[in-house]
């Protein structure tokens, strides 16, 4: 009972205030208004600057620096930080290990992206076709690997790849097929790619499936009335409509490919075939933490960031006009 007046009080105040506020808006807040949006933006700007802008600028700054050692380099004062110009960039780009590592993730991407997105699209279409009785379970089962952290997934697959501890090899040898050395030089790329496909298909499937669910059912009815088969519906209606989602999953996969790190890093101690510079990001890690050269690592990071930026935006620009037409 006692709360009623308390609630009514502001209500009356507000209704009384409305005409006043509406009556004199322009005159008083002209100067005040100009600052208001920035005040609202300030938290975002501060967070952006502190946790994204400043580190990026700092990394760019570090990439132009290096440590100069004098003499034996022992004891205090024998190290000084100096400007390096672009020499860190030159060293990164001319490192004999850098180009092969770029080529490696190129080949890796050619395996992972089509296989993963192909499977994701196939699963999404199958689930959307509605023929399966256990759709919910299947969806979760396909999605579940995405919830497993990449390091855990790599450990798990690592055990499966090692001949002596792998049940796969027991089965293969049981049926008389020789067991390939999955961590040997001819298989290692597929072994790493397999982990990424296993972990990433579910996520991409969910994205595509969600897009499919948003398509109005009457389109299918109209198509069926015209005599279209399910396959034709998939090709001519579903896939064109979810093209923007496919572009998005492609860009995500592209970025993930350029940044592949956890899987090869975890498999590395199990194998002779994964070098410390197997992918560009592993080279950054080695330079920063094994060689204690954060300056080279910063330069390579900047190169990777620029390449990622150029590739993703280049691709978006290339397909943007087609894929996003209906969103204009």
């Amino acid at each position: 009972m006692t709360t009623v007046p308390a609630i009514e009080q502001p209500a009356t105040e507000r209704s009384a205030a409305v005409p006043t506020a509406a009556g004199r808006p322009r005159r008083r807040s002209h100067s005040r208004r100009a600052g208001t949006p920035y005040a609202f933006l300030a938290p975002a700007i501060v967070l952006f600057v502190a946790f994204l802008g400043a580190p990026i600028v700092y990394a760019a700054y570090l990439s132009l620096r290096k440590v100069k050692v004098s003499g034996l380099g022992l004891g205090s004062g024998s190290r000084t930080e100096i400007w390096a110009g672009l020499s860190n960039y030159a060293r990164s780009l001319t490192d004999p290990e850098f180009l092969p590592s770029v080529g490696r993730i190129g080949a890796y991407g050619l395996i992972v992206v089509p296989v993963m997105l192909g499977l994701a699209l196939l699963f999404a279409l199958l689930l959307d076709a509605g023929r399966t009785k256990v759709g919910g379970f299947t969806r979760t089962a396909i999605f579940l690997p995405y919830a497993v952290p990449a390091v855990v997934a790599s450990l798990l697959w690592g055990f499966l790849y090692l001949p002596r501890v792998s049940p796969i090899n027991d089965v293969l040898e049981g049926i008389g097929v020789g067991s390939p050395n999955l961590l040997g030089s001819s298989w290692i790329l597929y072994a790493v790619a397999n982990i990424a496909v296993w972990g990433g298909t579910g996520f991409n499937m969910i994205v595509l499936y969600t897009a499919l669910k948003a398509i109005p059912q009457d389109m299918y009815e109209a198509a069926r009335l015209d005599g279209a088969t399910e396959v034709q519906i998939a090709w001519r209606i579903k896939i064109p409509i979810i093209a923007p989602s496919m572009v998005m999953t492609f860009v995500f996969s592209l970025i993930a490919t350029l940044q592949v790190f956890a899987e090869p890093m975890t498999l590395r101690p199990l194998s002779n075939t994964i070098s410390s510079t197997w992918t560009p990001l592993m080279k950054v890690y080695r330079d920063a933490f094994t060689r204690d050269d954060i300056y080279s690592a910063a330069a390579t990071s900047v190169i990777i960031a620029l390449a990622t930026f150029a590739l993703s935006f280049g691709f978006l620009k290339l397909v943007g006009s087609r894929a996003f037409r209906q969103e204009d």
């Binding site: 034996l72 002596r164 094994t290």
Partner: protein, 433 residues
């Protein structure tokens, strides 16, 4: 708008900059007579129990053990803390091969005033590692890890093979074992364990770095190391040993199910075997290392570490006092050996090491063998970029091991040499040659 953004940006940079330097309050003098708290980074199991004894006896210098994951991650963390200007512990465990790197990064304090007199208590090779051959003392040796050879006695007896005295014997034994059982191997060449290979090169007489005046020399691709690389490459090429890395689930399984029947390792091997190959307990024996020249037996090291005071410690005197107790006091040595299972570096350790490790319970002379091995360690100088050389080893020898070509093993040394020298020259070190 743009100006405002720049302003905000500059302000946040200033904040960051002041945040980095703001913690530099030095109150070194204020602890006279008061209670001092020291932090100690170590990865040795049960070290906290050893430290408890110190804390009970020294209420004014309290040491807190901060458990680390291992030698490499601890060094990475320490170097980051040194760069950041704060966050380093007072006392730090450091592997011998990391000491030059840490000294070079100005992470270790010179404690020659407190610890300089301890020289006679340690083997020369270990003392050399913590002084880098100069007058400064950067750490006090804690454990020594001379290489030894471990083998499955039951398998050797069955095939009527004696423990190999020379590397030729080892090669013959490896061949015989693999011929008798195609699934069995005497060992593996592990491209992930640069420390073991370094020890083997040390045994052959190599010393990869050297100091001459104010100039470094790098000799990774020398005749002694070439001999070692060619030898192991030959064994891998003929297939009598494996080429797969150690310390993998695969390797553990092989030790445990008896398909790996030997291990060139160090004095700490019993602890590892106990964990990895529990089902083979009682079947192993230890022996001195196979030799290149039986007239002048030598060994190398794999591991071993020292205890250092960091440059960020505000109580270096007290920290040095603790380190001295930990590594030289008879009570502490006994605890180190029995509780923390380390093989103490000090030469007076025989009193603490009476019974053999549990996994080698039948081998009464285990610690006699170990102490004999500790005395014949070849001198070896580590350089300021061991990390670069080791990571070059992993990559170059990984490739060589995968190829199973002996020629690739010796060629890998040239890669290591080039990468190590290039890195030093790029940093500005004076390097000969």
């Amino acid at each position: 708008m743009k100006k405002a953004l720049v302003g905000v940006f500059a302000a946040s940079l200033l904040l960051l900059a002041s945040g980095c330097s703001g913690s530099d309050d030095s109150d070194t003098g204020s602890d006279a007579g008061g209670k001092v708290d020291l932090t100690y980074w170590t990865w040795t199991p049960n070290m906290d129990k050893v430290v408890e004894t110190w804390n009970a006896a020294n209420p004014n210098i309290h040491v807190t053990v901060n458990k680390q994951d291992g030698g490499d991650p601890a060094v990475t963390k320490l170097l980051t803390a040194i760069k950041a200007g704060s966050g380093a512990p007072d006392v730090m465990q450091a592997e011998y091969q990391k000491v030059p790197t840490l000294v070079s990064a100005d992470a270790l304090a010179d404690i020659k005033d407190e610890a300089g007199s301890l020289k006679d208590k340690f083997p020369e090779s270990n003392w050399n590692s913590v002084t880098l051959g100069g007058d400064s003392v950067y750490a006090v040796p804690q454990d020594n890890a001379p290489l030894m050879f471990f083998y499955r006695k039951d398998v050797f007896d069955k095939l009527k093979i004696a423990a190999p005295k020379t590397w030729d014997d080892y090669a013959a034994a490896a061949k015989k074992i693999h011929a008798a059982n195609a699934k069995q191997y005497l060992g593996t060449f592990s491209a992930t364990d640069a420390g073991l290979f370094t020890g083997l090169a040390q045994q052959a007489g190599a010393s990869w770095w050297g100091i001459n005046g104010d100039t470094w020399s790098v000799n990774i691709n020398d005749a002694a190391t070439q001999k070692v690389a060619g030898y192991w490459g030959g064994l891998v090429q003929e297939g009598s040993i494996l080429n797969t890395p150690m310390y993998t689930p695969e390797w553990n399984a092989a030790l445990n199910d008896g398909t790996q029947v030997g291990w060139v390792s160090a004095v700490w091997a019993p602890g590892v075997l106990e964990g990895n190959a529990a089902s083979t307990k009682g079947k192993w024996a230890a022996a001195p290392m196979p030799q290149w020249d039986t007239a002048a037996p030598k060994t190398g090291n794999w591991g071993g570490s020292a205890t250092a005071v960091t440059t960020q410690s505000k109580h270096p005197k007290q920290a040095a006092q603790f380190i001295q107790w930990l590594n030289t006091d008879p009570a502490a040595i006994k605890l180190l050996a029995s509780t923390a299972n380390v093989y103490p570096a000090t030469i007076d350790s025989s009193a603490a090491l009476t019974s053999p490790p549990a996994f080698f319970a039948d081998q009464a002379d285990f610690y006699t063998l170990a102490s004999d091995a500790a005395k014949i360690g070849n001198p070896f100088t580590y350089g300021p970029n061991v990390n670069v050389a080791y990571s070059a080893f992993n990559d170059a020898f990984g490739k060589a091991a995968e190829s199973k070509q002996s020629a690739q093993f010796t060629a890998a040394l040239a890669t290591m040499q080039t990468q190590t020298v290039d890195d030093m020259k790029n940093s500005g070190f004076k390097v000969a040659g």
